[in-house]
């Protein structure tokens, strides 16, 4: 009995060591890969506006030239936190969404992950050119996605809050530092 328990304990320790080793070995590649994916996503958002430098990501909201600002918006979806990145431009003193994408989400694959555009359908594109006023109204073309009501509601709420915060922030669209 003692021998059996010793074997089990030894195996447990061995497994823990293996996991620790693999985790340590892959921590840097994983961090690099995430960073690269984030850079690629944000480059897509910036879309030809002044190039993002690597250290720009440390200071949010990111102010680009050409009057575009990138902001991050956090909300809670069905499976966990949803993080969006929005490219905003001022139109008549109200921030308008020119582009947006999901940075991070935990929605159920196949049911709620359409927000992150796995099939290239760009469900999020319906929010482009929306302002705080148009988001507050209930446009008829924005229907829920069946089976993902909570996800859709979370996205709308997050966008509303982000636009409200951007409206309140005075110098979001200043072009200081651009040539």
């Amino acid at each position: 009995m003692i021998r059996a328990l010793t074997t089990v304990a030894f195996l447990t320790v061995a497994c823990a060591l293996l996991l620790w080793a693999v985790n340590a070995a892959t921590a840097n590649p994983i961090a690099d890969a995430r960073q690269r994916a984030m850079q690629a996503s944000l480059a897509k958002l910036a879309q030809g506006a002044a190039l993002l430098r690597a250290d720009d990501l440390a200071h949010w909201p990111v102010r680009l030239c050409d009057g575009i600002s990138l902001v991050r918006a956090n909300g809670r979806g069905y499976g966990g936190a949803i993080e969006l990145a929005l490219a905003l431009t001022p139109t008549d003193a109200a921030p308008t969404i020119t582009n947006l994408l999901v940075l991070h989400h935990s929605e159920t694959p196949g049911i709620g992950d359409f927000i992150a555009d796995p099939q290239g359908d760009r469900w999020l594109a319906r929010f482009i050119d929306q302002t705080p006023t148009t988001l507050l109204a209930r446009p008829e073309q924005l229907d829920a996605v069946s089976g993902a009501t909570i996800t859709v509601a979370a996205i709308r709420k997050t966008l509303k809050q982000a636009l409200a915060a951007a409206s309140a922030e005075a110098d979001l669209f200043s072009s200081a530092g651009c040539s």
Binding site: V8, L11, L19
Partner: protein
């Protein structure tokens, strides 16, 4: 036939066609359906499952005399779970775009009955070499089912075979895949869940029919086998 009497080749090929885990034993159907929406996703999961199955079979076979009888299943689960976590971490580190698509289904490899089944019925009683062959054969069989379904569904849904293969094989392979027919002659249903069930069902039916015919030919006068 008693498994300890069979030849090495028979051990190896049992998992491929005689007792394929997907279409004969109907194991691992959840990842099979979910991840077969494209060839590269299917190959990714096949590789991860093979890693876990071969690792688990080898480890259990090496330790088979040391694992106490009463703690058999918890120990098996501990080993399989450890290997699954390693597979997830390695995939995230070295194939991040692919990981973003199939992460959930690599994590549930631990629940794939195919692995616990082979470990419990074979690796815990057979020597290391045989367990390795059994693991390889079963992995190849599962990969075969995944690849057949993955290719079929991807071709039907988009007309392109092997899009995004660079996510698995590196930048040398192109990412646009091989277009076999034009984009407006496609059946997008194949990419969605109902399409998964339909194509998987057809695959299982086909495999079952072929198996029945083989059995009938092997014993033509024995009607009880058809």
């Amino acid at each position: 036939m008693d498994v300890s009497q069979e030849s090495a080749t028979q051990t190896l090929t049992r998992g491929i066609h005689r007792r394929n885990p997907a279409w004969s034993a109907l194991l691992g159907l959840c990842p099979l359906l979910a991840v077969s929406n494209s060839l590269v996703n299917a190959l990714g999961l096949a590789t991860a499952s093979a890693f876990v199955l071969i690792g688990a079979n080898l480890t259990v076979s090496v330790l088979r005399r040391g694992i106490p009888e009463f703690a058999r299943l918890p120990v098996f689960m501990l080993l399989i779970a450890t290997l699954t976590t390693c597979a997830v971490l390695l995939l995230e580190a070295f194939a991040f775009e692919l990981y973003q698509r199939i992460a959930l289904f690599v994590q549930i490899i631990v629940t794939n009955c195919m692995i616990l089944g082979r470990v419990e019925t074979f690796a815990s009683k057979q020597p290391v070499w045989r367990s390795l062959l059994d693991a390889i054969g079963t992995s190849v069989g599962f990969a075969l089912a995944l690849v057949v379904l993955g290719s079929t569904r991807e071709l039907l849904a988009s007309g392109v075979l092997g899009a995004d293969l660079n996510d698995l094989f590196g930048a040398g392979v192109g990412e646009s895949g091989l277009r076999l027919w034009p984009a407006d002659a496609t059946l997008p249903l194949a990419r969605l869940a109902p399409g998964a069930f339909l194509t998987a069902g057809l695959l299982l039916a086909f495999a079952s029919a072929v198996g029945q015919r083989q059995r009938a030919r092997a014993a033509p006068d024995d009607l009880s086998k058809t």
